[in-house]
Amino acid sequence: MALVEAIILSVLAASTPLLLAATGELVTERAGVLNLGVEGMMIVGAACGFGGAWLSGSIIIGALCGIVAGTLLSLIFAMMTLGLAVNQVATGLALTILGIGLSGLIGAGFVGERIAPAPHLHIPVLTDIPFVGRILFGEDGFVYLSLALVVAVWWFLYRTRAGLVLRACGDNHLSAHALGYPVLRIRMYAVMFGGACAGLAGAYLPLAYTPFFIPGMTAGRGWIALALTVFASWRPGWLVIGAYLFGAVTILQLHAQGWGIGIPSQFMSSLPYLATVIVLVLISRARTGGSTAPAALGTVFVPDR
């Protein structure tokens, strides 16, 4: 039982950055913008988040620095793709490269420094409930924040008028424009939200997961978040399932090795990606109405005057 609890706790921690980044990307893509720069925004968020926390001694200020950094970087993307109508794929890739370089520069001053990690919640009585208490009420705040964020995004997208307009921009920007909605401005907000989430996801790594900063510490998690968005077929509910599934596969394959289960570790390391492909196939087979992707995803919109 203790081992099961330990595994679940590891899965929660491993899934949280994926869930945060993917939530932001989901909103961005729902508005019709494909931002492949998640990895770059995350790593800059990690560098600034750690720097903020290290200088101020406050995890919350660190998290805010991460959010601001991710947002600023996403504004560069918005300026290029929305303002200048540059190709989104190329700009996103460039943003990742820029982010990796920038984070090394920002982080150079505090590589090798340490901070106290984000504290774990402790609610008297509730946290002390055997087994579930530690899982439901005893992790760091980011874990629960990420779940609350998904719920909020779901509510926004499906239960508010603004959410409907945002989805309309992603499905048919010409119609949305014809109806008088400011497509570019809405998309810019969506891109900024994506940047903020990616920045926070990146900041989670040095603030809670492994409390130090080293260049390249996101190690490809931004790309997994991108895959997750597709895996979830752009639905918040599926995003949660997907994020925890990815986290679980990663952690369980490590445990499987410790137990000496005779499957090559290289194969098990590739399982999350294999799962994405399989689920994609299943989803597309199960649906008769074609793809669930936002119809205008990745297309450039230039309003006529």
């Binding site: 330990a6 491993a14 190690a219 998690r221 410790g258 137990w259 290289q266």
Partner: protein, 359 residues
């Protein structure tokens, strides 16, 4: 427009040549190619410490330059050539993946000397150098066996290549010399560097009952996890004690300075020769961080073992080395395994209850 370009090129050429002749006359230029950013710990940082040691040792007689974040593979060729063109007469390429690019550039510039770390291809102007880290791992195995209460050692591996496999074997042979029933759990993260995954692997090993953790990956994340849980761990490449003040038992430190200084001295004296150096504790090719967080008798044992290894009295792969199948491994070098057998090691010794992935 064309005229301007030609003029600009001529100016560049003239200044470039001027620079190279001026510096060649008074000081030796030594170049370095780094895999990662220098940072504050880890593989590249250790190489850079040695580079700084050159500056201290030779002062104005030597000028060093480095290029960091150079990806392994064909792209490295341009970076190496860039150093040569800038007038560097001795170039250190500090990662395994620079082997072929270094060889290519070495063939092109026979008057420049190259030093490649941890490879096996050489030329008349290209040496190789590496360290017998497995000696350090033997010591760590002994310490682990003494310090472990559960009798289970956790091992975080990067990739199942001979260097890592021989490290696991050396660790276990050391451990078995103290406690023949010592067990090891091995988790491969299939990466040299992924702090999150390394941390998760450390958690998994601890959760499964290991109480001493060894890593063959680059980040201090495992040390930090082990420290939080109040268990013990060994560092890697660098001193990691600040990530686990009460957890680090020792760490294998890559100390390249003595070798780099010797090679630059030879270059200055005009006696540089192509060599294949695989140094151990005897030549200080690597060192052990102070033995900390352990009782005095364990510390004494570790120091004695270190001395015996340095003098050559003790060989980690002393025959008979018994494989997992219970049969003795062929002994190709007197009383211990030959260097070639260690460099190409692809089997586990008896007592490791696991198999090499993909084998």
């Amino acid at each position: 427009m064309k005229k301007h370009l030609i003029a600009a090129a001529a100016v560049l050429l003239a200044t470039g040549m001027g620079l190279s002749t001026a510096s060649a006359a008074d000081k030796l230029k030594v170049g370095f190619i780094y895999l990662g950013p220098v940072g504050d710990l880890g593989w590249t940082y250790q190489h850079d410490l040695a580079r700084q040691a050159l500056a201290k040792e030779f002062g104005d007689a030597v000028e060093t330059t480095f290029l960091e974040n150079v990806p392994e593979g064909p792209d490295a060729e341009r970076a190496i050539e860039q150093l040569v063109r800038a007038g560097n007469k001795l170039v250190f390429t500090t990662s395994f993946g620079y082997m072929d690019p270094t060889l290519k550039v070495a063939k092109k510039y026979p008057n420049v000397h190259f030093e490649h770390c941890s490879g096996y291809k050489r030329d008349k102007n290209m040496s190789t150098y590496s360290a017998r880290w497995y000696q350090g791992r033997y010591i760590q195995g002994q310490i682990a066996a003494k310090m472990s209460k559960s009798g289970v050692l956790g091992y975080i591996g990067s990739f199942p290549i001979p260097e890592v496999v021989s490290g696991i074997n050396a660790t276990m042979l050391g451990a078995q010399s103290v406690n023949p029933n010592m067990k090891v759990k091995i988790i491969w993260v299939n990466s040299w560097f992924d702090p999150g995954k390394e941390a998760d692997a450390a958690k998994a090993l601890l959760d499964q009952g290991a109480d001493v953790i060894t890593q063959h990956t680059d980040s201090p994340a495992p040390m930090q996890i082990v420290s939080e849980r109040g268990k013990f761990a060994f560092g890697q490449d660098s001193e990691m004690i600040k990530f686990g003040p009460k957890a680090q038992l020792t760490s294998i430190l890559d100390t390249w300075a003595p070798y780099y200084i010797a090679r630059v001295k030879a270059e200055l004296a005009g006696t540089w020769k192509q060599e294949d150096t695989w140094g151990g504790l005897d030549t200080k090719m690597f060192e052990m961080a102070p033995y900390t967080n352990m009782p005095d008798d364990v510390k004494k044992m570790a120091e004695d073992t270190q001395a015996a290894l340095a003098s050559g009295k003790l060989q980690p792969f002393k025959c008979p080395v018994v494989g997992q199948d219970g049969k003795d491994v062929e002994c190709k070098d007197g009383d211990h395994l030959a260097d070639g057998q260690v460099l190409g090691m692809n089997f586990y010794v008896k007592g490791i209850d696991d198999s090499i992935p993909g084998k």
